[in-house]
């Protein structure tokens, strides 16, 4: 067992994990942050995307021990301080960018990372960026729209 500690959604947490424990398992099973989902075992689906030190990471591809000392943000940390939906989250609701909700946490985390790197992505750039996130319900149409809407809200001038 390895002792680890990190900041998750701004709060310090610690735990003892096996070397083989994945970050996704640590978040879900030890911290009970079940918003991070597991949709595959081959790192293909993106349901598990979180931010580690500001980078979008598939939490199923990283050992918990590797995140020792890191700043981690999960879907549970994406709402505004007053509990209302953040801009990206709100755009997903407004544009009906989710159906069953299972891919959604990963989609929102990927979308937020994309918009930080590229505040005014084209449709093609959005589709390209979502290469690692599978959604079986929406056909992506409204996810793309949600990201465009969020982009316009976050960067109103640039989007004009």
């Amino acid at each position: 067992m390895v002792e680890i500690s990190m900041n998750v959604n701004g709060k310090p947490v610690s735990g003892a994990v096996e070397g083989r424990t994945l970050l996704s398992a640590f978040l879900r099973d030890d911290l009970r942050l079940t918003g991070t989902h597991i949709g595959c075992d081959t790192s293909q689906c993106g349901a598990c995307v979180v931010h580690v030190n500001g980078e979008a990471v598939k939490a199923c591809t990283m050992f918990a021990a590797e995140a020792d000392g890191a700043e981690v943000t999960t879907i549970e940390g994406m709402a505004n301080a007053d509990g209302t939906l953040g801009v990206v989250q709100q755009a997903f609701q407004d544009e009906h960018g989710l159906q069953c909700g299972f891919c959604t946490p990963g989609m929102v985390m990927s979308a937020a990372a994309l918009l930080r790197d590229n505040p005014t992505p084209s449709e093609a750039e959005i589709r390209e960026y979502l290469e690692g996130n599978i959604c079986r319900c929406t056909g992506y149409h409204n996810i793309v729209k949600a990201i465009q809407t969020a982009a316009a809200k976050l960067t109103p001038v640039a989007a004009e």
């Binding site: 909700g101 299972f102 589709r127």
Partner: protein
């Protein structure tokens, strides 16, 4: 002006808030105190005899609580199927035993052999590796046609052959159909494969069971589309637990598409193991396991023929299909290729004569069940491919050939030659809408523009009619169903005005919590927010049949409406009593009970409270309380329909197909929430394009699934798809239910595959490549090969 509340409003989905903040509650998010973990040792051969299984060393591994084999399940029943199909010769389908854990023989890759329960999942997995299994591999058969040839390996020794049934629909019409082919001016025929696909909802299956010995109560949390069906099937047929002792909860479910209808081995396993061990037991599927244990879909090989007269009018069609059922029968396995496939196989056309023959066949592959559309995509695909081929052969515009053969708007209700009566429709209107939205008139110019860039552009049509809204119990009972397919609802008005609606349907992405509230709000004239929809728990909901077959709005919604009307009728009695008026004079308008011709009125909330404060009521005629339930059994199916157009570009250098534009013009009858309906259209079309271009469950000749993970099985990604244009403004509300709704969940998956394939064939044939036929998925190598053999 668009409405902002009630039926027809694009109300934002209330369930989204929990999904967007990580507060959704899916089965794998549920953990019970003291829970142990199950892991299954599964067959890695498609057919084999278990010579011996030694669990001694495994059982002694750290943390192992118990290892279960078939011995532990010998008193349990066979996992059931829901429908009896009768063959042409009058015999009923062959139905082999389907055990929870393999009994001496394994019949498909992934079949569970032993279940290990341990303190942690890692320990259970480690122990599984220590089980010593001696397996004698037997010859396997994976192809349905090969499986019915003489000398083919027998999937089930106890059956007379691999043929489950040989169904003719309608057998009495066959002679007349054949006669029409003898004298027809032109016959177009086509042999095609509707390949096997994997549903792959993003949430893998999961089941957590708990047993309370104190009151002999079982609770099963599971990823299901139909918790009451699981309770009934598993209780009555497998584990022999009465409904009163088994609670099944399906919490948030992360997509299903038919693959979460079945009462699976693993659900029965954890339920029984929880009792034997006295511990909650949890099993979560990995994606790899899902590929070899979730129900798969489609897998038809079909020959279809169309007889036409000199004017291009359809005279008759007939089909012969080999439907691969896999190794065992799942719940909808035999009805999907028969009664869900045959009745709508005639599509939107007034073909006077039709005959459908389907042979259901056992093979050493993962069992098949309903997958989005279930039988209707197969029927639509073969017909729409055939109509396009006929148009090409006769040199008629494919839109025109369709139009001249459509059932005319004035011909509804329309009796088809395939037993069913289409309720309402206007197929000309949806086609016109499609041509308009896809700028069909401008297509020739776009084709030229593509040609200038060295690309082949094609436009493909498909029209579809679905027989949905499962299902009128009386009718399906005559057709072999072993249950009814009504739906139940209960509406409870609480003293302070809040309303709980309990529905037996289930939502796994469809937004019922929002849309069903709109139905109730519309009829009560109150704010949607006061209404809460509760589903997915047999302890809360009186009864239910679940969600599949585009039934939730048409059947579940109608049940909710019926219960709402009963509640209004009772509330009116309270209002009449308090307002001292006769009941007939009291009307509910915009949430106010008003006495006709007076200014006396009471708000809905006042009546709700009054119902629970019976201080001066005539107790013999007016019971306190305001809660009503209803069962709704539809009189008939409903028949949504649509016209789809797909525009593609094929790169002749590489065979790569790009979908440039996809337009869906649908008629779903009345629309409850346009935003949600459009979302269903998008998702269905995406799955249809996925099947057409990318997806395929490929078995090698030994029965190994070679596309058994997301690395090999190509799921549609964002960059594979265009933005869609979807429309549902052509509305012919059904007279078959009080809401007028027809169902939209499966549409896209039904109509999209033939539109895409027809578009590619159009591109190739107009680009100088004589390719009469091509099978899905249209991978670059397949398209390229077809072009090479044409040149």
């Amino acid at each position: 002006m668009p409405k902002d509340s009630g039926i027809g409003a694009s109300s934002k989905r209330r369930e989204d808030v929990r999904f967007l903040t990580g507060k959704g509650r899916y089965t794998d998010d549920i953990n019970r105190a003291g829970q142990a973990y199950a892991y299954f040792l599964r067959s890695d051969v498609a057919h084999g005899r278990i010579r011996s299984i030694d669990t001694t060393e495994a059982a002694a591994m750290p943390g192992v609580l118990r290892i279960f084999t078939d011995e532990d399940f010998k008193d349990t029943g066979s996992l059931p199927t829901a429908w009896t199909v009768t063959s042409i010769d009058g015999s009923v389908q062959q139905e082999p035993r389907h055990p929870v854990l393999a009994e001496g023989i394994v019949r498909h890759v992934g079949e569970p052999i032993a279940g290990i329960v341990a303190e942690t999942i890692e320990q259970a997995r480690d122990a599984a590796e220590k089980i010593v299994l001696e397996m004698e591999e037997l010859p396997a058969v994976t192809d349905a046609k090969a499986a019915v040839e003489a000398g083919a390996p027998q999937v089930h020794e106890e059956l007379t052959s691999n043929l489950c049934f040989d169904w003719g629909f309608i057998q009495d019409n066959k002679a007349a159909v054949d006669a029409a082919f003898e004298t027809a001016h032109h016959v177009t025929s086509l042999e095609l494969v509707n390949q096997r696909v994997v549903a792959n909802p993003m949430e893998p299956r999961c089941a957590v069971a708990e047993y309370d010995a104190g009151d002999d109560q079982y609770t099963l949390w599971t990823t299901s589309q139909n918790p009451h069906v699981i309770r009934m099937m598993m209780g009555a047929f497998v584990l022999n637990i009465p409904e009163t002792k088994l609670r099944v909860v399906a919490p948030d479910v992360g997509g299903a598409f038919g693959s979460k209808i079945y009462n699976y081995n693993e659900e029965a396993f954890v339920t029984l193991a929880a009792r034997i061990l006295g511990r909650p037991v949890k099993w979560t599927s990995s994606r790899t396991e899902a590929f070899v244990s979730d129900a798969q879909g489609r897998d038809h090989q079909t020959k279809i023929e169309l007889a036409l007269d000199a004017d291009g009018m359809f005279l008759a069609f007939r089909t012969e299909t080999y439907a691969n059922l896999g190794a065992y029968l799942r719940l909808f396995a035999t009805v999907t290729p028969t009664y869900l496939h045959g009745p709508a196989a005639g599509g939107a056309y007034r073909t006077p004569l039709a005959y459908v023959n389907v042979k259901g066949v056992f093979t050493n592959t993962v069992p098949v069940d309903a997958y989005r559309g279930a039988g209707r995509p197969e029927g639509t695909y073969q017909l729409e491919r055939l109509v396009d081929k006929a148009a090409r052969e006769l040199g008629i515009d494919p839109a025109e050939l369709r139009r001249k053969n459509f059932v005319k708007p004035e011909e509804f209700p329309y009796q088809t030659p395939l037993a069913v009566v289409y309720d309402s429709g206007n197929y000309h209107a949806t086609l016109d809408k499609l041509l308009d939205l896809s700028d069909y008139a401008g297509f020739a110019a776009r084709r030229q523009e593509s040609a200038a860039r060295g690309k082949l552009r094609g436009y493909g049509f498909a029209t579809w009619v679905e027989c949905s809204g499962l299902a009128p119990s009386q009718l399906i009972g005559q057709l072999g169903a072993r249950a009814g397919l009504y739906e139940s609802a209960m509406v409870r008005v609480n003293p302070t005005g809040g309303i709980q609606v309990f529905t037996g349907t289930h939502s796994h992405g469809q937004g019922h919590e929002t849309a069903f509230a709109q139905i109730v709000a519309e009829h009560l004239g109150i704010d949607e927010k006061l209404i809460e929809i509760i589903h997915g728990d047999t302890a809360k909901i009186p009864f239910g049949m679940g969600t599949y077959g585009s039934r939730s709005g048409a059947v579940g919604g109608a049940a909710i409406l019926k219960a709402t009307e009963k509640v209004i009728a009772k509330a009116r009695k309270f209002a009449a009593h308090i307002l001292e008026a006769s009941e007939e004079d009291v009307n509910l308008v915009n949430g106010q009970f008003t006495v006709a011709g007076t200014d006396r009125s009471m708000a809905w909330a006042e009546v709700a409270l009054a119902a629970y404060v019976p201080h001066n009521y005539p107790s013999d005629t007016l019971e306190p309380g305001l809660e009503e339930s209803a069962f709704y059994d539809p009189e008939n199916f409903v028949y949504p329909a649509g016209a789809y157009g797909c525009e593609v570009e094929v790169d002749p250098e590489t065979g790569v197909v790009e979908v440039l534009n996809f337009v869906a013009a649908d008629d779903f009858g009345t629309i409850i929430n346009p935003m949600i309906v459009a979302g269903q259209q998008h998702g269905g079309v995406a799955q249809g394009i996925g099947q057409a271009l990318l997806e395929s469950a490929v078995y090698d000749k030994n029965g190994q699934l070679t596309s058994g993970s997301f690395m090999e099985y190509a799921m549609p990604r964002a960059s594979d798809l265009p933005c869609f244009v979807v429309d549902h403004s052509c509305q012919t509300p059904t007279p078959h239910n009080p809401l007028g709704v027809k169902g939209c969940g499966e549409a896209g998956a039904i109509g999209a595959p033939p539109a895409v394939v027809n578009a590619v064939l159009d591109a190739l044939n107009n680009g100088g490549y004589d390719v009469p036929d091509i099978d899905m998925p249209l991978s670059p190598s397949r398209v390229w090969a077809a072009m090479q053999s044409a040149s």
